[in-house]
Symmetry: D2
Subunit: 155 residues, 4 copies
């Protein structure tokens, strides 16, 4: 499997991100891609709140998960896709702010499994506050032409 150039990494991650309906629903933007490092931002929206008016933990979790997955994808060789197999989230403070940022990095990229860590921040008046953190395990799967890399059949 060949090394992937930096611009191909970016293209690959951006294409996959664009297909994520849930990221679109959140108004999320992939604000940084480097090899092994990603950042996703999304604005506050009243439609995403839970009963106390904060953004729902599910939205924060989804963005942390995506940031981890794309960080893992950014260091994967050609011809493979990635899938989260498990993650742990610590919810530390309410998601109160004007916008939210998830920053992920790869802690280890193995032949089969990658381990990624991500922090989520709420931004208010330009000040960032750590609100959640994720530790995730991501599996590499061969891309099957015309196929579908579902969890059921592949790992």
């Amino acid at each position: 499997m060949n090394e992937v150039s930096l611009s191909d990494v970016e293209n690959r991650v951006r294409e996959s991100f664009a297909r994520q309906g849930f990221m679109r629903l959140l108004g999320a933007e992939l604000s940084l891609i480097e090899r092994g490092r990603t950042e996703i931002k999304f604005p506050f929206s009243a439609t995403l709140t839970q009963q106390h008016g904060f953004v729902h933990a599910a939205a924060i979790t989804a963005v942390l998960d995506s940031a981890c997955g794309y960080a893992a994808l950014s260091v994967a060789p050609e011809g493979v896709d990635v899938l989260s197999t498990e993650f742990k989230v610590n919810l530390m403070s309410p998601a109160a702010g004007e916008k939210f940022i998830a920053r992920a990095h790869v802690k280890r990229a193995g032949r089969t499994l990658s381990v990624c860590s991500a922090d989520a921040f709420a931004v208010s008046g330009g000040v960032e506050k750590l609100i959640a953190t994720m530790l995730a395990t991501i599996i590499r799967l061969p891309i099957v032409e015309g196929g579908d890399n579902g969890r059921a059949t592949e790992n």
Copy 2:
């Protein structure tokens, strides 16, 4: 703190569930409440899918989290609310099916922390398949009149 009657448990959990905008967005229904045990169902919807056409892991995670939280609330004394502090999810199979069920139970209800476990199933043609599982830690917080039990200030 007084013991809560079984019908009060149900009322309390149903009221809180009704305030969850995200559960409404999913079309989720609280199909069972017992002391220490809950079940939440929601139908497949194309608006919830990820890039492969399966229901997004964020939706499954949200329902598992809610099921755990309400299981913990169902055994909490009067005057307290609950909040997830952390959870781990294993995503085992793609969320492919006509509807989805999360079943949670309390493994331990402590004075401050409760531990809950939940499984998520996809239902196709009446057959249930295990697709994900969660292990969560939930904290009890005193309900503040006119206040807001946000994570930032309370734990």
Copy 3:
């Protein structure tokens, strides 16, 4: 890969268990092996305690981890070994008792990854009390003749 007979399952798990020096250190005994289900017991020992006189969480974690790994091994095909890639433990009550039991079962056995759940109980005067629970992800690795299935090189 061939199906493994029930007695071969038991032999395989017992052989691997016997090589675990740490299990010997704990005086641990593999008290049950079925397909997808294991039980490990060990007695209280003053040498295993932490600062409050309870058995150290590391001992409980080690036994939960072994029980999960052997449950995964018991459903694996011939020619593969297993390795824990990650686990989460909730420590619910102090490990106070005459003996301790870990019971694990396989929640899902995939081609590459298995998910196992295990509970640990303290036994005092014949009464079991739940003290900890684990949710673990285990990877299957091909057995390499004369080789060593280390994590660094294999996943």
Copy 4:
């Protein structure tokens, strides 16, 4: 509750560490204490190995857990003790090396719960290699004179 001076932090953590029989068993040394940051080292020992000759994951987990707990203790007010309520570990590479280092830091110190992250490294010929990582939740408990801050009764 009063602010604790830096030298009191160090005394408090060193005293607690000295009472940990399991740390002594490992030959572990508390090589760094700062406010919110700790480092624990221990040498390779054949008595700590698992079946492949690497140091057992239980030893690595125990040291990561202690490093997290002492990091949380280092930022706690006077009159409180700390206890791990749960942790997740990713085992990334075999624990092969001359010595091992766990480095922990506090990600959030809340009134009741703290979240800590720790990495474990194997050192061979002066080169460090990341082998495991932990994300842990630690609870603060009031110190009871003549009492015992067991998990069963306190959280």
